[in-house]
Symmetry: C2
Subunit: 413 residues, 2 copies
C-alpha cells in the first residue's frame, strides 16, 4: 500500500449491505506484507452460479488457469484470494500451490475442488507458499460473516491507495436484489503489483450461462475500457457470483439472457462494473487526473475504441495531461498512429467543451486560456470526432506522472 | 535543445568526408528557437536519385504528403528541412507553406518543384510561416558547401541533446564510394518535439528504384526497430540520395537490386542506418540507459519483432530499467500481452549473460546479485527465448525516467 492516498479517491464509501448466501473472512498470513490482511475467503453456503472473464495474456497465472478449468462446472462454493504474490510464472510449484489451496478450501467449506475459485496478486515469479494460509481456511470459514465487504476489499489491495467497493439495487420481476462488488488495481495492469482483480456477487437467482453472458457483455465498456499503462496483467480476473437467495422472496430464476425481467439488473450490473473500473483508474499509480477519452464519428465502434485506446495509452498525451498542457497536437498524433481510418482534414478535437481543432487545423476561435483552464481540472474530458461514420467509444485513463516512474522504478529492488 | 547532454551521447564525432555533388547550408530563421540554426538546405548540382520511407501515421504532416507526391519522379535537386514547427495538422495553410517553400527552393536552385523534398519538425498544429526562410534560400544556395555535415545535423535538432552523424565507405565494383547520414529524434517518435528525421546521401551511382529497394529493406532492422515511447510521429521521414558522382571514377551505374556489386554497399548502408537509429535511442528523452531486446525461438520473425516491441514499449519494463531493477516478471507480462504464440512453460529470459528464468519459472540458479549487476550498466541486453521456432528479432529502446515525464509534461506550456 502506498503511503499517500490518491487525490482522486472517493470522498466516502457506500454502505455495503450483505448479500444473502455469502459470508467472508480475511486473515493476515504474512505472504509479503506485514501488519495487514492479505487473504480473503468468500464462502457460498449453497452453490452459487458463477461467471468469469480473465486476462488475455498468453502467460496467465496459475490461478487463472485453475479458474478457467473450473468455470464450465458453473457452481461456486468458495473463493480464495491472496495479495503479495501473483503465483504467476511459477511453473509446477505454481500448480501445486493452487492444488493445495483448492484442496484446503474444499475441505474447510465442505465442497468439491471444482467449486473453488482462486486469485492471486503480487510479485511475479516468486513461488507462493500456500501453506501460509491453507491451514487457516477452516478457521476463516468458521469466522466468516456477511457484513464484511470493506474489509474484503482491503485484504486484496497491493499498491492501491484505497479500497474499492460499489453496490447497486435492482428489481427482477418486482423482487429487489442487491449487487455488491470489490476491486483492486492501481496500474489497471501492472503485473507484479497492481493486477486488476474484481469480485461481484448478487443474491439474484440467475443461471450460470446467463450470468456469463451478462458479464462478458458488461466488461467491454467498463473494465475493458480503462487503462493505466497499457500493460496487460498475467492475472486479471473478474468474477460474478449469484447466490440465488432472492428466490426465497419469489424471484423467478432467470434462464435466458433475453428475459425482459433482466433489464434493470443488467443496467445496475453495468453501472456497478463501471463504478469499480473508474475507481481503479482513479487509483492509477501516481495519478493526479482522470482522463475520459471519447471518440465519435469513427467507421465502426471497434475502430473508435482502438483510436480511443491509442490516445489513452500514449505516453505523450498522458505526460501532457500531467503537465496541464492542452497539447492537442499529441492527440492528432495518437489518432494517426492507431492505424484505423482517419481523415486528417475532417478531424475535430475538444478538451472539455473547448473545441481546439476542426477541419484538420487549429480551431479559428482557439483560446489557449480556455483550453488551459480545462486542463487544470481533476477530470479531463477529451473528445475526438473523426467525421467518418457512427462508431463511438469512451475509455478512461489517468495522467503519467513522475510518481508513476518512482513507484515502478523503486518497487521491487 | 535540452540543457544537459545525454549520458549515452557518443564520446566523439567521426570526420564526415564531403559527398561529391552535394552542398549544404544552414540559416537561423527564428521559426521558434533563438540563437541557433533552424533551416537546412541540401543542394544536388546534378539531379540525384532519391528514395524515401515515411511515417505510417494516418495523419501525416504536409511535408510528408509533399514528399510522397514527388517521390515517383525519382530525382532530387534540393532538400529543405526546418526545425521548430512540424507543419502538421495545419490544413490548407500547411499545403500553402509547402508550396511556397518548394517554389522558393526551385527558384533558388534552378530546378523543378518536383525535384524538391521537404521535412519539418517541431510543434504540431501551429501554422508554419515559410516566409521566414523562403526568402533566404537563394543566399543559402550561394553559400552552400560540401563539408558541412555536423552543422547540418545541428540545424535539424529539436529536443535532441547532441547532433547525430554517421559515415561509411564501401566499394562498388572496385570503386570506393562514401555514404553519409544525419538524423534527429529524441523521442524516436514524439510528434511535437522529437519526430525522427534522417537524410542519407552517397556519391554512388544507383538507380532510384534500386535505391528505394535498398532503403525499404534497410529500415526494418534499424529505424523501424527502435522505439523511445511507442508514439508514432506525423512526420517521420528517412530519405536516401545518390548523386552518382562516383561514375566519374568508373563506377558502373547499378540498375538492379540483385547486382552482386551491391553487397558491400548494402552492408555499409545498413550499418550506417543502424548507427543513426541507435544514436536516436541513446538520445531518447530522459534516457540514462539503452536496452537491447532480443527475442529468439518465436514462430516467425514477425512474431519475434512484435514480442520484442511489446517488451521495449512496456512502461513497466522501462521504469524497472530506470530503477536498475532486474524485474523479469515484467518481461513475462510483456511477452504475454503481445498476443503472439507463447508457451509459458518453455520461456527463458536473460539479462546480459545471466539467465533469470527457464522452463516457465525462476532459474534454479538465479542470482539476484548477478542480475542486479547487469542492470547497473549503461547498456542492458535482455533476451527472451520462446522455444517454439526459428523467429528472431532485436529492437532497441531506452529507460523511462522522471526526466521523460518532466520533458514532456513541461514542453509546450
Amino acid at each position: 500500500m502506498s503511503a499517500s492516498v490518491s487525490p482522486l479517491a472517493p470522498k466516502s464509501y457506500p454502505d455495503m449491505p450483505p448479500i444473502r448466501g455469502l459470508r467472508m473472512a480475511t486473515a493476515a498470513a504474512g505472504i509479503k506484507y506485514k501488519n495487514r490482511t492479505d487473504v480473503l475467503l468468500m464462502v457460498f453456503d449453497q452453490p452459487a452460479a458463477v461467471a468469469g472473464v480473465f486476462t488475455r495474456s498468453k502467460c496467465p497465472s496459475a490461478p487463472v488457469d485453475f479458474c478457467r478449468a473450473n468455470l464450465p462446472h458453473g457452481k461456486a462454493r468458495a473463493v480464495v484470494v491472496n495479495s503479495g504474490n501473483a503465483n504467476a510464472f511459477t511453473g509446477l510449484k505454481g500448480r501445486a500451490a493452487t492444488e493445495l489451496t483448492a484442496k484446503s478450501a474444499a475441505s474447510a467449506v465442505g465442497c468439491a475442488e471444482n467449486e473453488v475459485y482462486l486469485a492471486s496478486t503480487g510479485v511475479i515469479g516468486e513461488p507462493l507458499d500456500a501453506g501460509k494460509f491453507a491451514g487457516v481456511l477452516g478457521d476463516m470459514n468458521a469466522d466468516a460473516e456477511p457484513d464484511f465487504w470493506l474489509d474484503a476489499a482491503k485484504a486484496i489491495m497491493t499498491t492501491d491507495t484505497y479500497p474499492k467497493v460499489a453496490t447497486r439495487l435492482a428489481a427482477i420481476g418486482g423482487v429487489t436484489v442487491t449487487i455488491n462488488g470489490i476491486a483492486k488495481g492501481a496500474g489497471m495492469i501492472a503485473p507484479d503489483m497492481a493486477t486488476m482483480l474484481s469480485f461481484v456477487a448478487t443474491d439474484a437467482d440467475i443461471a450460470p450461462d446467463v450470468l456469463q453472458q451478462l458479464l462478458s457483455a458488461g466488461v467491454g465498456p467498463t473494465f475493458n475500457s480503462v487503462t493505466v499503462d497499457s500493460d496487460t496483467s498475467t492475472s486479471d480476473t473478474l468474477m460474478l457470483f449469484a447466490t440465488g437467495a432472492a428466490a426465497a422472496d419469489g424471484q423467478a430464476r432467470v434462464t435466458s439472457v433475453e428475459d425482459p425481467a433482466l433489464a434493470e439488473f443488467r443496467a445496475a450490473l453495468n453501472a456497478l462494473l463501471k463504478d469499480l473500473a473508474l475507481q481503479v483508474v482513479r487509483d492509477g499509480e501516481g495519478a493526479r487526473k482522470m482522463v475520459e477519452v471519447t471518440v465519435t464519428g469513427a467507421e465502426t465502434g471497434a475502430a473508435a475504441k482502438r483510436i480511443a485506446l491509442s490516445i489513452a495509452n500514449s505516453p505523450l498525451v498522458k505526460t501532457a495531461v500531467a503537465g496541464e498542457d492542452a497539447n492537442w497536437g499529441r492527440v492528432v498524433m495518437a489518432v494517426g498512429k492507431a492505424g484505423e481510418m482517419a481523415d486528417r482534414d475532417r478531424l475535430a478535437i475538444w478538451f472539455g467543451d473547448v473545441r481546439v481543432a476542426v477541419n484538420g487545423e487549429r480551431d479559428p476561435d482557439y483560446s489557449e486560456a480556455a483550453a488551459s483552464a480545462v486542463m487544470k481540472e481533476e477530470h479531463i474530458p477529451v473528445r475526438v470526432d473523426l467525421g467518418l461514420g457512427e462508431g463511438r467509444a469512451t475509455v478512461w485513463t489517468c495522467d503519467l506522472t513522475k510518481e508513476y516512474v518512482a513507484i515502478n522504478g523503486d518497487y521491487r529492488s
